[in-house]
C-alpha cells in the first residue's frame, strides 16, 4: 500500500522534481492544505476508508509510510 500511495502522491498531488520515497518528508516536498484535501479524497476512493479529523495531524501525514500505516489501521478497525 505504501508504494501505491507514494506513487499516487508523486504523480497526482505534489509538484516536485525530487524523487519521493515512502520515507520522504511530504511537507518538505510541498504537501499543502489543498494537497491534503486531494489526498484525503484519494484515500477514501482508493482504499475505502474515511479519515477522522482527529487523525489529521502533521505526524500522521508526514510520510507515505505513516499514511499507509494509518490507512491500514482504519481498514482493520472497520473490518472488526
Amino acid at each position: 500500500m505504501e508504494n501505491e500511495l507514494t506513487s499516487l502522491i508523486a504523480s497526482d498531488i505534489l509538484d516536485t522534481d525530487q524523487a519521493i520515497t515512502p520515507q520522504s518528508d511530504l511537507f518538505a516536498a510541498g504537501l499543502d492544505s489543498m494537497g491534503i484535501m486531494q489526498l484525503l479524497l484519494l484515500i477514501e476512493d482508493r482504499f475505502g476508508v474515511e479519515i477522522d479529523p482527529a487523525d489529521l495531524s502533521r505526524d500522521n501525514f508526514s510520510t507515505a509510510e505513516k499514511i499507509a500505516a494509518l490507512v491500514a489501521e482504519k481498514k482493520a478497525a472497520s473490518s472488526r
Binding site: S11, D12, I13, D15, G30, D32, S33, M34, G35, I36, M37, Q38, L40, L41, E44, D45, P53, A54, D55, L56, S57, R58, F61
Partner: protein, 437 residues
Amino acid sequence: MPSSGQTLPPLAATCSDGFLFGLESLMRRSGQGHHLAATVVECEGEPDLAALRHAADVLGHRYPVLHARIARGGDFIARWRLDEVTPAPIPLEVHGISKDALHPLIERLLNAREPDVWKAGANLRFHVVITSPSTWTLVLIWSHSLHDAVGIDRLLLEIATPGDDRTPRSGGVDSPAPAEPMSTLYKKALPMIEEMRTFPAWRVRSFHRKGVDAGESQVAVHAFDRDTTTVIRAKMAATAGELLLLPYFASIAARAVQSVIAARHPDEQVPVLLSLPAQRAGERPLFQNHMGVYTLLLTSEDLAELKPATRALYRKSADFMRRKLLASMDALMRMMERCPSRFYNLPAFMYLKGEVCTLFHSHTGSFAPGLAMLHGSRVTNGYHVPSVCSPPGVGIFFSEYEGQLSMTLSWKDGCLSPLELELMKHKLAEDLGVPVP
C-alpha cells in the same frame, strides 16, 4: 518587433485564464479598474538595489511574456503576443516611506491601473519600499490575467537567485493539448452545465449592490504575530484538525461575509456561494493560472456553527472533486475559448441573477516556501494582496510565512459600509479566537 535574438511564438491562454480574462473585461466595462494584485515581502536590513535591478533585468529578458499584451488572434483564441515583444528589464521604483504608509501605498498602486495586459509594456512592477534604516519591503504589482499566487511564489525564488541566463522562454504551457471536437467537449462539460442549472434555486447574494457603481479597491491587511498565530492554529486543531487549513479558513470567511449579508436581509436564510481555488495536478508553469474554481453552496444551516461548517465545506469540495467537476469546467472553458471575453460571465449572470459568487476566498498555504533571504536581507514576512471585482465585491485571503499568519480583506468601494466592515471583522475575530483590529 523583437530587437534581436530569438522570437517566441504567442502563448495561448487556456482554461481559467479565459475566465479571468472575462473578469478583467467585466471590471473594465463597469469602471472597476484592472484585475491587479500585490505581493509583499518584508525584509530586515538594507536593500541591495544593484542586485534587485540585476534580477529585474535578467527576468525581464528571460520571460518576454512579462512585456507582452494579450489579444485574440484570427481564430479568436486569446494569446500572449510574445512574437511582438521587445525584451526589457522589469520596471523598478524606489520609495522611502514609514511602515504605516505601506498599505496605503499598495492601495494606490492597485488602483493605478498599471500594468495593463491589454497593451504592450511591463506586466510586472517592482517597488522597493524602504520603511526604516533597517527594514525594507519588496512589493510586486501584477495582473491576475497573467499570474497567480503559485506562479508568483515561484517567480520570487527566481528573483532571489536570478543567475545570468537571459535566454528567452515562454514560462507557460508551450504545447497545449489540441482542441477536441465540440461534441466531445460538450459531453465532458455537461456535468458542470447541469450543476449551473441548479444555481437559480440557490438565491445567492453577494456584497454587490444593484444600481451602485463599485469604485476603487480597498484593502485591510492584518499580520498576526507568531504567538497569535499559535493561538489561531491551536483553535483550528481543536476544531477541524491540524491540516484542513483551507476548509477551516474558508468557513471562517464565509461566516463573516454571511453575517453582513444576513444583517442586510434579516428576513432571508442567506446561503453563501463560495469561489474556492482548486489546484491542478501535474505541471505548474510560472505563467498561466493554476487554479480552477469550485463553486460550493453553503446554506445558512451549514454555516450556523464553525466546526460543522468546516466539515460541510470539506464534504462539498470532496463531492465536487469526486464528480470531476473541475475537469468538466475546464472542458466548458475550452468550448468557450473562441468566445468574446464578456461571454465568460454570461452563464453566471444567467444562472445566478447577476452574481458571480458571494465571495472570493483563498488560503494560499505557505507563502513562497524556500524564500528565506532576498539579496542579503532576511525575509521576515510575506503575503499576497489581491484586488477583487464586484460582484462579489469582497475577498478574504489568508497565508502563512514561517509561523506567521496574515489576513487580507479586499473589497470595492460602495460594496461595504464602515459599519459592515466592523461587523465582518467582529465575526472574524470571534471565529479566529483572537482580536482583529
